[in-house]
Amino acid sequence: MQSSRRRPVVDVAFQGNPVADRQQVDRAKVLQRLRLNDLSFRLLTRLAAILVLVILGGIIVALIHGSLPALRAFGFNFLITDSWNPVTEKFGAIAPIYGTIVTSFIAMLIAVPVGLLIAVFLTELCPMWLRRPIGIAIELLAGIPSIIYGIWGLFVFAPFLQEHVQPLLIAVFGEIPLLSNLFAGPPYGIGMLTAGLILAIMVLPFITSISRDVFEAVPPMLKEAAYGLGCTTWEVSRYVVLPFTRVGVIGGVMLGLGRALGETMAVTFVIGNAHRISASILAPGTTISATIANEFTEAVGDLYTSSLIALGLILFVITFLVLAAARYMLLRLNARVGG
């Protein structure tokens, strides 16, 4: 055992202590106590680690337990009906699910290219002394609480879109067959497009910082070889850096998607909270998280509450799958870089 090697030193330590010396500390007793402390500390940390798993298990069990009444009442139909009527107690989840997916899709459509371009700028073009400040500034965007995005979106961004951007979109796309449906209706200001745009700003820092990190991990030799062949900066980024970091970039994008799907407060302010599916992205809609945030405290009746918790369960399952896929990809990347 290790303790036999330690004994002499512990001995020295305790004999150096005049109090211990005088009291003739029983060495065996001290060693015993140290060993006990060691064991209990190890056990304590292990329990705390297991607690993380317990939290996850608790969330799943609590959500399933809470949503049982709704699932029993509606069964699989809960997932595919679009009625949401507290008076007749008929609930279906398809409208919020649709809103969640559409807003997240709009967000990713904008945030992915912009985030990747910023990462290219930060790793290839930006002068060294500016890299850190710009990187931190972009990351501060992630630190701003989502309620701030919400209040800003409601009072500043939505009116701006309503007056300047949305009339333009309606005028430009009004004549084109398919797109005219997508941009139909009066400019409300609030709606799915606004929510998607705000989500785009919110997930931008996640995509940027992960892409930048994986771009920086590309071996310089690969890039130098391409530059040596006469490639332009864009060609190096597009045909050398991006293929090499594909897994990591996809991981970062999925992480951003997970955020966008679950984002609550910012969306709640600007989505309009209308339980319907409209083809137009200018129309008000709702998302899973916005529905819960808006209606939970006012929900009366077990079935209503339980339906909202069932929505939460659906949201958790979707984000869990997306985030697990993201983490799996980033893990794989780390294993490759490490190996």
Binding site: R6, R7, P8, D38, F41, R42, T45, R46, L47, A48, A49, I50, L51, V52, L56, G58, I59, A62, L63, H65, G66, P113, V114, L117, I118, E124, L125, I134, I136, I138, L140, G143, I144, P145, S146, I147, I148, I151, W152, F155, V156, L204, T232, T233, W234, R238, G258, R259, G262, E263, T264, S289, I292, F296, L315, F316, T319, L323, A324, R327
Partner: protein, 279 residues
Amino acid sequence: MSLYDTRRRRNTVMMGFSFGATIFGLAWLVLILAVLLWEGFSGLSLAVFTQMTPPPGSSGGLLNPIMGSLIMTVIAVAIGTPLGMLAGTYMAEYGRYDKLSMVVRFINDILLSAPSIVVGLFIYEVMVAQMGHFSGWAGAVSLAVIVVPVVVRTTEDMLTLVPDTMREAAVSIGLPRSLMIQKVAYRAARAGMITGVLLAVARISGETAPLLFTALNNQFWSLDLNAPVSSLPVVIFQFALSPYKDWQALAWTGALIITLAVLALSITARALAGQRKSS
């Protein structure tokens, strides 16, 4: 020659785009902060910090939500930090490569970015529904659930950075492993671990979703954690969506206070972490 020109032109265009994208990203930060300062600063006065939230139509302050937020944040950190630190210690010191750590690491990373409103529902089910009423305790616990993954992650990362030679030196002079961790590893990783706690505080001080149906809200002065407690983010939510002008103005002021606090916390955390790296 024309192929060369095309490639060069494409490069210029794409690099222009990437420059533009960076300006685009930074512009939002500037825009949001500028509007916040513009709208919030005019309402900033001593009354904000000394008076209670007013009924619509009269003036008042944000004292009770500020106090509520502070109290719940302190309790959440007091519960979440030790748990997170112990779990991170296990993963970095005892079972760095064992199966349990791998699973916990994976799950923890997922909890780190799980939707916070789901945490609210979870605490509603286990605490509010069982106790039969909304309470400050439920709010604090739901915030603690958000603190834990942040602290676990940073503790593990920072302990992993501590050189193994330091551990070996400590063990070789006879320190038991638990004492080695507490006296040597923790001390070496202290700056990083404080950074983690600061980041966790920054994260929860703006959280609204988990408080909506755990701590609820309270228009009056109340330090009773068994009753609904007011909090700054929830008050901003309620006031901003109200039709009253003076409530909206207070919401902007509250938003400014939160943002300044959060940004100050995260910049401090970054400065601490950066200091470590350069030294």
